[in-house]
């Protein structure tokens, strides 16, 4: 595995050794701090994805839900906030819609984060990330697709041989 690369988006197809986070909303509710919602980038993400104006953790205005607090944020936004504010989390890609992916790429340029790939993610045409499983760096969506397709075939072979679809990190 490539080491020593700072501020990078990593992705893995393996089940990580640590916690694999799927329920981002519940996790955020358990760990978040009120001050997180004063961060301009957090406010911007909430506005962009949820179309919700964030005044504070307990004062938000959604066009669909009306007045709300952080516990009603979407799972995708919760995952983005966790990526931004916490370290060492392995968050499943399935928590994020395609509209969250540009934000993940942006956060990956600011700090090390790890996305556990569970579905075909539509990354931007140009982006940089490292596959944790092989150490390969990809610089475009086309390059990412090559890695993804190889994993797709390997997964089918594992299933055909009676194994689990996803390998475990050792």
């Amino acid at each position: 595995m490539m080491v020593g690369v700072c501020d990078m988006l990593y992705f893995t197809f393996k089940i990580p050794k640590g916690v694999e986070l799927r329920d981002t909303r519940r996790h955020l509710c358990n760990v978040c701090e009120e001050s997180w919602f004063d961060d301009e980038m957090v406010k911007e993400m909430i506005l962009d994805i949820d179309k919700t104006i964030c005044y504070s953790a307990y004062n938000m205005k959604s066009p669909v839900l009306g007045g709300m607090n952080y516990s009603s944020l979407s799972g995708g936004v919760c995952g983005l906030i966790l990526f931004l504010k916490r370290d060492g989390l392995n968050i499943c890609s399935s928590a994020f819609g395609d509209n969250c992916i540009p934000w993940i790429v942006k956060i990956g340029q600011m700090k090390d984060i790890t996305l556990v790939i569970k579905h075909p993610v539509r990354f931007p045409d140009k982006f940089t990330a490292i596959c944790k499983d092989t150490g390969r760096q990809v610089n475009s969506f086309e390059e990412y697709l090559e890695v993804d397709l190889d994993e797709c075939i390997a997964r089918e072979e594992r299933l055909a041989n009676g194994g689990e679809p996803y390998e475990r990190e050792v």
Binding site: D50, G76, A95, G97, D98, L149, C152
Partner: protein
């Protein structure tokens, strides 16, 4: 359980106005994915509220004639163990069960096994996770939530007609260029039929030997004009990967009939068979979920019965079915027309 249903969920909200969800379901498995913040988890939250008998949310189910029917709509929380989940699903009859994406049970081997045996429930699975889609899931039943003002409905994720109808179909032309390839997912009788049929037209026919290998095989033909023929009945899990490959090769045409057997049932050979015509018109009324895990199995069974009933032939899907093969080859013009007429995804 079979039939077509509409699940209506009304959330009362005095501040910004009531919110309406309307889900039209016609198969035993419906997938909801799509962008973040479209209302998926909010829908589940509403169902939980309704189960607590809260008057803030009203849930009703209607049949295809708009009449209210007594089918419970339930959601199972992620906190339940796999054993509890299995017990609840096994013990239930004729229910619509909605799973939110945080329920890892839907990706389990046990759930997939149970589904493949046939269940007396309709399942709506909110998930982008490919593992949740390892079982057959039709392309047409992969949806996203779509909001217009205060109403949220299901909208198909894949509008494939644009891939099909806006391009010239190579099979409809008299002259064929040398680097055109038909790539089929099938490796049994379907492959043999298309291979022999199109050899005369000098079109190369190749098989991907399974749906999961299709994207990789498509890449191998990146320099060719490619026509991909696959069953929409079970392609849902890999379709986004296939569409990625379409983006890489602009000369790709996707043809996604329901299944090979569904195409064959459209032949003139069965035009006067009333049972076949009835099933093709409203398959949801015949696809009993305890018996048929997918519509593909329904159409396969219908073809087996129709061939036996009308021609005394036995069909096993195998390349060894020489009598069925010969019958199809005697009707090859009709077969090609059927493929051309039905190559687009009907949504």
């Amino acid at each position: 359980m079979c039939g077509s249903f509409i699940v209506e969920v009304r959330e009362r909200n005095t501040e910004v106005g009531d919110l309406y969800f309307s889900l039209s379901l016609k198969r035993n498995i419906t997938i909801i994915c799509g962008d973040t913040a479209t209302g998926k988890t909010h829908l589940v939250d509403n169902l939980i509220t309704a189960l607590q008998d809260d008057k803030a949310v009203e849930v009703i189910v209607k049949n295809e004639h708009g009449k209210r029917v007594n089918i419970p709509v339930v959601t199972l929380p992620a906190s339940l163990t796999e054993t509890d989940m299995l017990a609840l699903i096994n013990g239930s009859t004729s229910r619509i069960i909605i799973f939110d994406e945080d329920v890892s049970f839907t990706t389990s081997y046990s759930f997939n096994t149970l589904l493949s045996k046939g269940m007396n429930n309709y399942f709506v699975i909110i998930s982008r996770d490919s593992r949740a889609l390892t079982y057959s899931c039709a392309v047409s039943e992969v949806y996203k939530l779509w909001r217009i003002d205060r109403s949220i409905t299901l909208k198909p994720v894949y509008w494939l007609e644009s891939y099909v109808t806006h391009r010239e179909h190579p099979l409809s032309r008299a002259s064929i260029t040398s680097n055109e390839v038909l790539l089929v997912e099938d490796s049994s009788l379907g492959y043999k039929v298309w291979y022999d049929l199109l050899q005369e037209r000098h079109i190369k026919v190749d098989t991907a030997k399974g749906r999961d290998r299709l994207p990789k095989k498509m890449r191998a033909y990146q320099d060719c004009a490619l026509l991909v023929l696959a069953d929409q009945a079970q392609l849902g899990p890999v379709l986004s990967r296939i569409l990625n490959e379409c983006e890489q090769n602009a000369r790709t045409i996707l043809s996604l009939p329901e299944s090979f057997e569904w195409l064959l049932l459209h032949l003139d050979l069965f035009k006067k068979d009333q049972r076949v015509q009835a099933v093709l018109t409203k398959p949801w009324n015949y696809a009993e979920s305890t018996k048929y895990f997918s519509w593909e199995r329904l159409f396969t069974m219908e073809l087996i019965e129709a061939l036996k009933r009308n021609y005394g032939l036995i069909y096993t899907k195998s390349v060894e079915d020489i009598a069925v093969y010969n019958l199809l080859m005697q009707n090859k013009d009709d077969l090609l027309n059927v493929l051309l007429r039905n190559s687009g995804l009907k949504v």
